[in-house]
Amino acid sequence: MKHFKTLVEKECIEEIISPRGAALYLVGCGVLSVFSLLLVSNTELSLLDNAQAVYMMSSIIIAIALLIAVIRGSDGFAGERERETLETLLITPVSPAEVAIAKLMGLIFSWLVLFIISIPYLWAVGSTGQNLNSALQYLFISGTLLVVIFGGFTLAISARMRTFKGTMSIGLTAFLLSGSPILLGPSLRQSTVGRFIDLLNPFANALNMLDSVIVDSLGVLFQITPLVILISYTVAAMWILSMTTRRVEL
């Protein structure tokens, strides 16, 4: 891990400087601006409870973070392979696992930047409410875990696949599948099957956790189950990533 600092620095700078990275942040800012403006100015949305507005914004921030993690994660190995930069990296005394961990750190850094960008938006829609601090804390925790889960998973696919597009298709499909149960009606989600799907789904777990903290004002004891599930997925994603990057061929 002696090259770790150098690789992480490169990944973080690339996240900000590269046109791809900067464009994703700009799109993220645009989406957050539109939603926060709607929440404070739209006649019907502005009638929402303050906590509901913060929850809605937090969900959107998490969705944007995951989208960025999936796109950047897909680009991790497959994109570098396509741009022919992976070869110049692997011909140095660096192990593919070091490259993978550095890329994952780059994704976490990207999430941190988005999190910092999103604070003023959350403040704008929820500064008068009481759960803004808890919302920020749990958004940070759940967002970080989800970025590691989805980012790690797409990085692992990226290490094995030849093309960025192919990797991104799989990553986005997984992201949409994990998001789709949320579209089920409230009665269906309350059924046994719905609860089971929610329990298995890391995205739903994170949103349920944010809901119970921000809207229902429930304490930390109620968050143990979703946290354990999220941490289990995080460990699984790290394990899959380490297995797939033991040997990375061009």
Partner: protein
């Protein structure tokens, strides 16, 4: 001392055999030309030697290490200029060298980076991002990167691609200097036979997944077929039946004399003629040599 030893190397991609029973050996201080048509497996072999591709069978030994096992340790002591032109376009040349230097455990100062850039003919004052560089400039930067860790073995995959004649000559001179002064072993994979003839002392020709020839560049096998035409300054009083060892002159047309050269290096033959006072103004290789041998050995089978 053998620094690279490959025995019965095998590699397939999706069932298609790329390397089959490939064997080669490179000694310390060699400038080794690795030749073969497109798709013959040259790049695959180089990647296996670097430990970034894993063979299906056979034995590979580079600096007494197995690249599949000790790849990271080995890559600290060797380097390659790959054929692909992958550069981080947002970096500047100096940043690029510093980044790769750090991966080799080197903390390059500005002076160090400038020295490396000047060595390959790049202007250290050029602060543009690499994405604005021409192909030739990128090639030079790639060569500078490949020399960062002062490698014991330097692999070059098509090193003079995209370089102008002046740039090519500069890289030739640099490689010869590194080989002479540091006894650096150089393995060059190229299609440009002129590069091979100018630089290499040993060659291997890879075709149909196998090594078709491996040995010194100038062996009887090659020399037998070299024919030169010499242009003389004056045709009146000069005999063309030169009785020197290694020469067999067949005909004289006007001021042009056609000779076969055997058993000696063409450069040596030419200097011998000049020493004897024969007023040669031009020498042209008519046929034979490496090109004819290469074409002959790669004529059969798949392209």
């Amino acid at each position: 001392m053998k620094v690279i030893n490959v025995k019965s190397l095998k590699k397939s991609f999706s069932g298609k055999k790329v390397l089959e029973d490939t064997s080669m050996a490179v000694s310390q201080g060699d400038i080794y030309g690795f030749l073969g048509p497109n798709g013959s497996g040259k790049t695959t072999t180089l990647r296996i030697l670097l430990g970034i591709l894993f063979p299906d069978g056979g034995k590979v030994d580079v600096l007494k290490m197995d690249p599949s096992v000790d790849g990271e340790l080995l890559r600290q002591r060797i380097n390659i200029l790959p054929e692909s032109h992958g550069f981080y376009g947002w970096m500047r040349a100096e940043e690029y060298l510093r980044f790769f230097g750090q991966l080799y455990g080197l903390q390059l100062t500005s002076a160090d980076s400038n020295k490396h850039l000047e060595q390959v003919g790049l202007d250290p004052a050029d602060r543009r991002p690499i994405r604005t560089f021409s192909r030739g400039m990128k090639q030079r930067l790639g060569i500078a990167r490949s020399l960062l860790n002062d490698p014991e073995i330097l692999f070059l995959d098509e090193p003079t691609n995209g370089l102008d004649p002046k740039g090519r000559r500069k890289i030739h001179d640099l490689l010869l200097k590194l080989n002479r002064e540091r006894e650096m072993t150089v393995v060059i994979s190229t299609h440009i036979l002129d590069d091979v003839e100018r630089l290499c002392n040993r060659i291997a020709i890879l075709h149909n997944s196998k090594i078709q020839y491996e040995g010194p560049l100038f062996t009887p096998q090659i020399e037998k077929s070299i024919r030169y035409q010499f242009h003389l300054a004056d045709d009146k009083n000069i005999s063309y039946t030169w009785n020197f060892p290694g020469f067999s002159c067949q005909e004289k047309k006007g001021q042009w004399v056609t000779c076969e050269i055997k058993d000696i290096h063409p450069d040596k033959a030419l200097s011998l003629l000049v020493q004897k006072g024969i007023p040669i103004t031009e020498a042209i290789q008519v046929n034979g040599g490496l090109e004819s041998m290469y074409l002959k050995l790669t004529a059969q089978g798949k392209e």
